[in-house]
Symmetry: C2
Subunit: 197 residues, 2 copies
């Protein structure tokens, strides 16, 4: 079965529509999906950015929010801006990674729906605990696993892998031959590529 790694960052705006639509798309094409949370912070720091490029470059930022609104309208997804933007996504990424594969997608979609669908904060343990409970997970146990040294190390390794793959941002779709497709709007192209391998 063809497989795609879906690399996403919880603070990333375009990862929101991608996360909400990629599972159905992949399933319809018979492509296996692996949910790979990571952090853009280390990659952006290498480029000299200490903030989202959408804040660093206001013209790009203004365009992005308008473009995202149009995309969400077309997908019938609500859109609200979290404050502050970007949200600190470290704990959410650790929680996603600490979950078993079967629960990671549902949790990740719940985070995006709260953050960009309702504009809620996703950076604190209480908010994430509520989302974990909503998908039927033991919040305290999961948060403890998320903060354990081995899980922290696993997220760090994922970020290093993202860097080694040359991911320029998020979301990215990566096929088994390490072909990188960047952006929500490249999902279909990535699936086509995976099917041709």
């Amino acid at each position: 079965m063809p497989v795609i790694d879906f690399w996403y960052e919880f603070a990333s705006t375009y990862s929101y529509p991608a996360a909400m639509r990629i599972e159905a798309l992949a399933a319809a094409q018979g492509v296996e999906l692996r949910w790979r949370p990571f952090l853009l912070g280390p990659l952006f720091a290498e480029q000299g950015w200490r903030d989202s490029p959408f804040n660093v470059y206001p013209v790009k930022g203004r365009y992005m929010w308008r473009d995202l609104q149009r995309l969400c309208d077309a997908l019938k997804l609500p859109l609200a801006r979290p404050d502050p933007f970007p949200q600190n996504s470290l704990l959410a990424a650790r929680v996603a990674l600490a979950l078993p594969d079967a629960k990671r997608a549902a949790f990740s979609r719940a985070v995006y729906a709260a953050e960009f669908g309702q504009g809620r904060t996703i950076s604190d343990p209480a908010s994430l605990a509520e989302l974990l409970r909503a998908i039927g997970e033991d919040a305290e146990a999961t948060l403890a696993r998320a903060q354990a040294p081995d899980n922290k190390a696993a997220l760090k390794a994922a970020c290093e892998q993202a860097q080694a793959l040359g991911l320029p941002g998020a979301p990215c779709f990566v096929t088994s031959d390490k072909e990188v497709f960047w952006g929500n709007d490249r999902a279909e192209q990535a699936l086509d590529w995976a099917l041709r391998l």
Copy 2:
């Protein structure tokens, strides 16, 4: 008849596939196309870039060339990198603007085909004269008109309009209600928008 302004920059890589495919797309949908050459230099300078962001940020640059190769393969367009990249596009933009509307598209496609299809330089008068002759234009007269004060002023005004519209890069498609769509991959969305107005 619905109308779209196609804003393009001769040094811009993604403007190449856009320029090669937009006319047929627009014609098929019954949308009038206005070719609007402009320069990204003044916009980028405002962001603090003195070079293409694809050179300033090598990770983005590496991704862009790979992504562009895939796009060109799918469109059966040849791709060659001009050296240096980016090319100085000032004179080409002035020439495009100095041409009558009916000749601007053919000249612009000829420039892109030479620059990104064959990797040729487009910055000097001799190269542009050759391209003008190939589309049946009087090269010397056109180059003289291109460098006349009123034409230089017209290009400057176009760049100011691009800035006022908030164009974040090139290519952009702008509908009559000033909705901005950035990127070759937004052409279809822009046409849909124009048709709904």
